[in-house]
Amino acid sequence: MKKNNKKKSQNFSPSKLLLSHLICGIGLASSFWLAINVFSINLIDYPVQTLCLLWLVQAPVVILVYSFFQKDKNQSSYLKAVARGLLGLPVGAVVNALGAIALGAPVGSRYILRTLNWSLLMSAFTFAPAASVYCSSWVDWHRIFANTKLIESVDYMICIPAYGAVIGAWFGAWPMPLDWERTWQEWPICVTYGAIIGYLVGLLASFGFVVRVSRQRVKGD
């Protein structure tokens, strides 16, 4: 009975998911558009401001969109999911910042704001959507991020873009030690580019997975 209920609540149509991914992608694109055309700033010359703008646009979009997909709809309201997402944003930022620093991101007063804004953006890619969907269910978190056991379409939607962003950021750090003397080699510009590219690839890939999963489900039914 319970299982049935759960399945019902989680069975989202691919078109709905495509729409949500589109919104996420458009959110990112529009924040870039805003940065360049309205505020006339860009990532290379004004990394702090641009990163700030990026997450200020992206985080609400992601949280609002993903809160529609929250688990156990019966128990909590849409607003609560949004609140959880907002709470998850700084927590995820801390995790991302710690990870980046462990991998060698510079610390020091010059970089604090950059790291802060970058990690908030990363959190919007990775942590915030998961927080609004899974709330505080440790089992789900563990299943998704530690074991990578993806069952439902929502899992794919959250996990694959998040991994994409992290892996993209990891590869984005590669050009940093090269002596090309370009401004974009500085922390965290190329890392951000890598993360965004990884995230977008993740969005596309997860959509592919979702379509496959839903087809299997149709066959199964």
């Binding site: 620093i101 462990a102 991998l103 060698g104 020091g108 940093m176 030690p177």
Partner: protein, 912 residues
């Protein structure tokens, strides 16, 4: 496969590796193709194909030879006497400024007399670009012979040998000059028996900045008065030592510069000015062999290191202004040779400094250029691959022909007195162009490499690498039979991935320069993945495991920030720089904390074996003792030396250091030898005896090594050592707690990576400049190349060696599922179980890196940075190979000894 087969194959692979490496090194770093013999009278004749070498000049008396040279050269010597004042390590920037800007006011004030000479146009100053490696011996060779030395000269720097190539000192000797040398004894080793009087000082006591120069200056007034010499060489080392101790902006730098200025003043006033009316003319040449980096080190190719000085001060110099400000260091040779009327050394690649010949008459200037051109042309002809004589296809020969034609027409016009200034100018220009081109070509000659030797070397190394990989694969199959379905683990894949990435990155010169980022990034990624894996797993003591990984990551991050390292971003702030700014009390405090941390860690690790009787307590006491002695040494002796720079705390310190050396070596040896015997008394179970003894021996190695490093490393680095120790102990602890989750080869690879990352945290880079020369003489009273070389190796390879030594400890705590049937003890099987991976993994990984890097070096042989970036890196790779071989040998012999002793004692027991 049996243990003996494994051992044999491994030994064979190691042997192949060594053979291949030696073959490759012989092929790649050849003794540079130099013409043998010395220049004689034939150098005053145009080069011809039929080399008619008349040998009879050797039979001539020096004075006859001198007049013969004078007749042939057609240039009267401008000077009779030469004073060569070498100031070791003085950057030209200090005297001449940089980029057209004068030097800073403080520097100007430090050398008032020299500056007044320069301002009054009494001296000609140039930036003399030194070729890397910028260390003293190859630079002295370059300045006296005019040829750019081979790369391996650096390695010979600590083992000076007589200089057999043609050089100006030898040429001076041949024309009967009396020469006096005061200063760096390198000169005496290079030119044994050529000096009438000499007083050599050793360049090896780097901490001495006062006495070393006083020993030169004390003879100066006598020699200046004495007047019987033709060449006086003064080589002052103090400035270089000041740089090594405190860097460019050391507080001792100002007084040292002032001291040097006083010496220049003294020589100038007493010799040159007083003789200006006299018929004897003296030329004073102030040169530095190399510059120094901001921190005082040198050896590489940065502007700061290669920017050396040459100042010509003499009567003829007056009122000539330099037409250019940068020359090559090798240009000094032909200039001096031509000024003093001796043949230009046969292998010279420099071209004369024309400014110095302007006081001469026009035909003499052209003659000097012609002589220089002939000499360079000869060398070019000799080096041309097709030895078809005189048939140089390149542009340089046509340039020469142009110049020669112009010279010829100028000569004929000059006889008719119709030569105009323009003719002269164009001839000079043509010669200059040829000289510059030829000199450039000679300096950059890509020397032919014996391709057969290189390929066979690489093939042999490749074969050994394949053997290692095969052995590893075989070992893996035996240890992990197919009982569990092979589950994909990211951490295992990453171990291989890291090697691939490192290999790929080595092709980029900037990634070679900044290798430390790569190692840190990769190692941290690995441990982050391990953290992820720990969260995922449900077995084991997760909290303590998570904690240990966190400790590794945090210490890794601190270690990364300790030294900025590399080449491009060295100026950025890092922990070691801020500590130095904070001052020595804080450094000392950190040093004491780290010593206490190491001692505490040591006692804690030992305490787990406390139940095994008094032997363990004894060992603990001995480490406590040596630890406290190190602490005592650090508090009492270390600070004072670096502060005052005199380093004359003398014998007490040396005795203390030797006592510590002795105590550490003795306690480690005793522990390793005695532990299986004592453990056999305490326990009956063979496996636990072996494990406990290995644990004791491993602890002994690790902590003995750490205490030694705390003594030898620079004081800022002591915290690095203790953090590295923490990392390695945490890794071992993590792996021992995770059971079969972390396979043994993964653990060993992780420790190896930690060691490599730590290598750079200690401030090492891939340039030769960061080798800590000052540390290599701690506890040595007399100069011994071998001992100081060993200590230098110990200091530089502290971290990889620590990682390798910790293998003994790591195997002892690893969970092993060896089921021993009562009386069937197969020593070979045991040895293989314990020793297989700890030996094969480091050997295999190192051999992959070695082969890959050898191939890259071969591919990059025509790269612009081959001598400055890739070759020094290759030296490091080779020495790392030596380090791995030594480490594996120690681990293997210890484990074999412990196991065989334990088995032997067990077999003896029932019978007794």
């Amino acid at each position: 496969m049996k243990c003996s087969t494994f051992t044999l194959l491994t030994a064979l692979a190691i042997l192949l590796q060594i053979t291949g490496l030696s073959l490759f090194i012989l092929g790649f770093f050849p003794i540079k193709p130099a013409l043998s013999g010395v220049s004689g009278p034939e150098s005053f004749r145009p080069p011809s194909c039929a080399s008619t070498q008349d040998q009879n000049h050797t039979a001539l008396h020096p004075h006859q030879l001198k007049s013969l040279y004078q007749k042939l050269s057609e240039i009267p010597p401008s000077y009779d006497r030469l004073i060569l004042l070498v100031i070791d390590g003085l950057p030209a920037e200090f005297v001449l400024g940089r980029d057209g800007q004068p030097p800073s006011k403080t520097l100007k004030d430090a050398m008032p007399y020299t500056q007044s000479l320069l301002a009054g146009k009494m001296a000609l100053g140039y930036h003399a670009k030194a070729a890397p490696p910028t260390v003293t011996l190859p630079r002295l060779k370059a300045m006296t012979s005019g040829s750019i030395g081979g790369f391996l000269d650096v390695l010979l720097n600590f083992n000076t040998q007589a200089f057999l190539e043609d050089n100006i000192i030898g040429q001076f000797f041949r024309i009967g000059w009396k020469m006096v040398m005061l200063g760096d004894e390198t000169w005496l080793k290079l030119f044994p028996g050529l000096f009438t009087r000499h007083d050599g000082v050793s360049s090896f006591f780097v901490k001495d900045t006062v006495q070393v120069d006083h020993n030169v200056s004390r003879h100066l007034s006598y020699e200046l008065y004495k007047d019987d010499w033709n060449l006086l060489i003064l080589h002052y080392l103090g400035l270089d030592h000041v740089g090594h101790l405190g860097g460019r902006s050391s507080v001792m730098m100002g007084p040292k510069l002032r001291e040097m200025d006083e010496i220049i003043k003294m020589i100038h006033l007493s010799t040159i000015q007083s003789h200006e009316s006299d018929h004897r003319q003296t030329l004073l040449v102030v040169i530095s062999d190399h510059g120094m980096q901001e921190n005082g080190n040198h050896g590489g190719s940065s502007y700061e290191e290669t920017d050396s000085l040459v100042l010509f001060i003499g009567p003829g110099i007056s009122h000539v202004s330099p037409t250019y400000d940068t020359i090559n260091q090798v240009d000094i040779t032909p200039t001096l040779a031509l000024l003093f009327g001796i043949p230009i050394p046969i292998n010279n690649a420099g071209h004369l400094i024309a400014d110095l010949f302007h006081p001469l008459e026009d035909h003499q200037l052209l003659r000097a250029m012609e002589l220089n051109s002939w000499q360079l042309l000869r060398l070019l002809q000799a080096q041309a691959t097709d030895s078809t004589c005189g048939n140089l296809e390149d542009a340089s020969s046509s340039l020469y022909l142009d110049a020669a034609a112009l010279h010829g027409s100028w000569k004929s016009k000059n006889v008719l007195r119709s030569a105009s200034g323009n003719d002269l100018k164009s001839t000079v220009l043509a010669y200059t162009e040829f000289l510059a081109t030829a000199s450039d070509q000679l300096s950059h000659t890509a020397t032919d490499k014996p391709i057969g030797l290189l390929v066979s070397g690489i093939m042999t190394m490749l074969l050994s690498c394949v053997m290692f990989m095969g052995l590893l694969y075989k070992m893996g199959q035996e240890v992990y039979p197919n009982k569990q379905v092979h589950k994909f683990q990211l951490s295992e894949a990453l171990i291989g991935g890291i090697i691939v990435i490192i290999v790929l990155s080595m092709g980029s010169s900037s990634l070679v320069e900044e290798e430390q980022y790569l190692w840190h990034f990769m190692t941290s990624t690995f441990f982050l993945v391990l953290l992820h894996q720990t969260i995922k797993s449900n077995t084991g003591n997760r909290t303590s495991q998570l904690f240990s990984v966190a400790v590794i990551l945090i210490s890794g991050r601190i270690l990364k920030g300790w030294h900025q390292g590399g080449v491009n971003w060295t100026h950025l702030p890092d922990i070691s720089k801020s500590l130095e700014i904070l001052g020595s009390p804080y450094v000392k405090l950190l040093q004491i904390i780290s010593i206490l941390l190491v001692i505490t860690l040591c006692l804690c690790t030992l305490s787990s074996l406390l139940s095994r009787g008094s032997f363990v307590i004894l060992i603990g006491l001995s480490y406590l003792c040596s630890g406290l002695l190190v602490l005592h040494y650090v508090i009492k002796y270390q600070g004072s030396e670096s502060e005052t720079g005199t380093g004359t705390s003398g014998n007490d310190a040396i005795v203390a250091v030797r006592l510590i050396y002795g105590l550490i070596i003795a306690s480690v040896t005793v522990t390793v030898i005695a532990s299986p015997w004592f453990m056999s008394f305490e326990s009956k179970d063979l496996v636990s005896v072996i494990k406990d003894s290995l644990y004791l021996s491993g602890t002994a190695y690790v902590f003995g090594w750490c205490l030694l490093q705390l003594l030898l490393q620079q004081s800022v680095n002591s915290m690095v050592i203790s953090l590295l120790l923490v990392q390695i102990v945490a890794t071992i602890y993590y792996a021992s707690r995770s059971g079969s989750d972390v396979k043994q080869w993964v653990e060993i690879a992780a420790i190896y990576y930690l060691g490599m990352a730590g290598h750079f945290s200690l401030g090492n880079t891939n340039t030769l400049a960061t080798i800590d020369v000052a540390g290599a003489f701690i506890g040595i009273s007399s100069h011994s190349t071998v001992l100081s070389g060993v200590i230098m190796f110990v200091i530089t390879y502290a971290s990889p060696m620590l990682a390798l030594l910790s293998m003994v400890m790591s195997v002892s705590v690893k969970e092993t599922n060896i089921i021993l049937k009562n009386n069937e003890v197969n020593t070979g099987q045991l040895v293989k179980m314990f020793l297989g991976f700890p030996c094969l993994v480091p050997l295999g990984m190192n051999s992959v890196l070695l082969v890959a890097y050898t191939v890259i070096l071969l591919l990059m042989r025509n790269h612009l940075f081959i001598w400055t970036v890739f070759s020094p890196k290759y030296i490091y790779v080779v020495v790392t190979t030596v380090c791995v071989l030594v480490g594996v040998l120690i681990v293997a012999s210890t484990v074999t000894y412990v196991i065989s002793t334990a088995v032997f004692l067990r077999k003896k027991k029932p019978s007794s």
